[in-house]
């Protein structure tokens, strides 16, 4: 049966066009449409229902940090309380089973998982931890993202102190009389927050944000925003056939973990040393044609050299944008490529990611 989030009635009230996504009935856009929603998020503050994502709490003392380091390629020992890091769940071939955000909390860790992967992830992680710890994939919590330059002002009005958080850090806060957990993070290339809140308070919380000037934003704009920001979507740009090195996400592997053990560590080390055969790059078509996922990529001399994994029209950059994997020798900046769209070869160029870059406020680091 198709699942609904705690904000389902609110989506309907705001005339959402609903689609099934990862087993949930989710809003793709509201009455303003994807482009307006996208631009509003870049200039003001958008609210996203991301409650379909998994919120996995792992509790345990003693060896939990050590045991999790055997699963994730990051330096958890150095992670401060309430600090977050981006990481991956990989198999022995270093292929990505999910990408995730892990945050150190009191007496444990909170891991935010992709909706389509969360049940599998829970099973894999629990098995790797030998069922030693208390793992809770919380269904009684909603997850709401507030994104955009006004997010901090709008949220601060109702949640005092939240604007002092640094990027990729979180903390416990009060909303009305209940406890909520907030991290300063997001998936749009904007400053913003993700709020974990009890299901039965989620609607009230969102209504408060709306009355302070925020607007509901659907998954359609979430996708165009993340693509402009050069961020990967699991299932499109990364999956069980790609490694973090191939995905050009080497930065997310902690330097002091490269020589240590975790699933796929030997392959990661080898790929860092010797390079990879294919690598993810940003691609800009020379005209407005959109090259969507699975579009074939050709070289200047008409050799098939890769495939597009995501492509759309970027409303803020006012240009067709894409990313995909190409053979390594074609991955240099400004390499001329051709994209086969509806039988025609469209000229394009390898370009820097992200397509859209925000000037962050001093003291806030985008990672």
């Amino acid at each position: 049966m198709i699942k609904k989030t705690s904000l389902f009635n609110l989506h309907k009230k705001h005339n959402a066009k609903l689609v099934e996504f990862a087993g949930y009935e989710m809003p793709i856009h509201y009455k303003d449409g994807i482009i307006q929603e996208h631009k509003f998020t870049r200039s003001n503050c958008g609210i996203f229902d991301v409650s379909h994502m998994g919120q996995l709490f792992i509790y345990g003392k003693e060896n939990l940090t050590q045991d999790l380091e055997n699963i994730f390629p990051i330096d958890l020992e150095k992670l401060n309380l309430n600090q977050s890091k981006y990481s991956f769940l990989m198999d022995e071939n270093a292929c990505i089973h999910d990408d995730l955000i892990i945050t150190k909390i009191l007496e444990g860790y909170l891991i935010i998982l992709n909706a389509a992967c969360k049940e599998d992830d829970l099973r894999i992680i629990n098995k790797k931890l030998n069922n030693k710890y208390d793992l809770q994939l919380k269904e009684d919590l909603s997850l709401i993202a507030l994104q955009g330059p006004e997010a901090k002002n709008i949220l601060e009005k109702k949640v005092e102190g939240v604007s002092k958080l640094k990027f990729m850090n979180g903390g416990n806060f009060k909303f009305s009389d209940i406890n909520i957990f907030i991290t300063r993070s997001g998936y749009t290339g904007e400053d913003g927050f993700e709020i974990s809140i009890k299901n039965n308070y989620a609607e009230k919380f969102v209504e408060e944000m709306l009355s302070n000037g925020s607007k509901m934003i659907g998954l359609g704009a979430r996708d165009t925003l993340r693509m402009e920001a050069g961020l990967c979507l699991y299932g499109n740009d990364i999956d069980k056939n790609t490694t973090p090195i191939e995905a050009n996400l080497k930065w997310a592997i902690s330097k002091n973990r490269i020589d240590t053990d975790y699933p796929g560590s030997k392959i990661i080390k080898k790929q860092i040393q010797l390079g990879v055969e294919k690598i993810r790059v940003g691609i800009k078509p020379e005209n407005r044609v959109i090259a969507r996922g699975d579009t074939k990529i050709f070289s200047n001399d008409d050799k098939e050299i890769g495939k597009i994994t995501s492509g759309t029209f970027g409303p803020s950059v006012d240009h067709s944008i894409a990313m995909g994997y190409v053979d390594r020798q074609y991955s240099n900046l400004n390499t001329k490529l051709f994209l086969e769209v509806r039988g025609k070869k469209i000229p394009a160029n390898v370009c820097n990611l992200p397509f859209y870059k925000k000037n962050y406020v001093k003291g806030e680091i985008n990672v």
């Binding site: 856009h29 449409g33 994807i34 482009i35 307006q36 359609g220 044609v289 067709s320 509806r342």
Partner: protein, 126 residues
Amino acid sequence: MSDVKYSKEHEWLKLDGDIATIGITKHATEMLGDIVFTELPEKGTSVEKDGTAGVVESTKAASDVYTPVSGEVIDTNQAIVDDPSKINQDPENSAWFFKLKIKDPSEIETLMNKDDYDKFAKETSA
């Protein structure tokens, strides 16, 4: 005032003598969402009834544009190529797609009038 006719593929057609102006319906634009790219047929080419005669892409997906009648393309609307958002703004008027010198006037009779189209659009989108 000439009569406007509609196709099951959500195109509209306005006839003036033997020249048909063709575009996509308001209902089609509402289903597509924000249109960000348009491709039109070349002037001078011949198109066959129900054949593809262009592409529209929204932020969500690409869709073919079909011609509801056969004929020779005598004009195309460059304004909607330069700014595809015009299609969402004024789909059944200034954002026309192409003009045809029609080949067979009897093909027009296979198309729907406004009432029938509105009913069809409502039923198929429900």
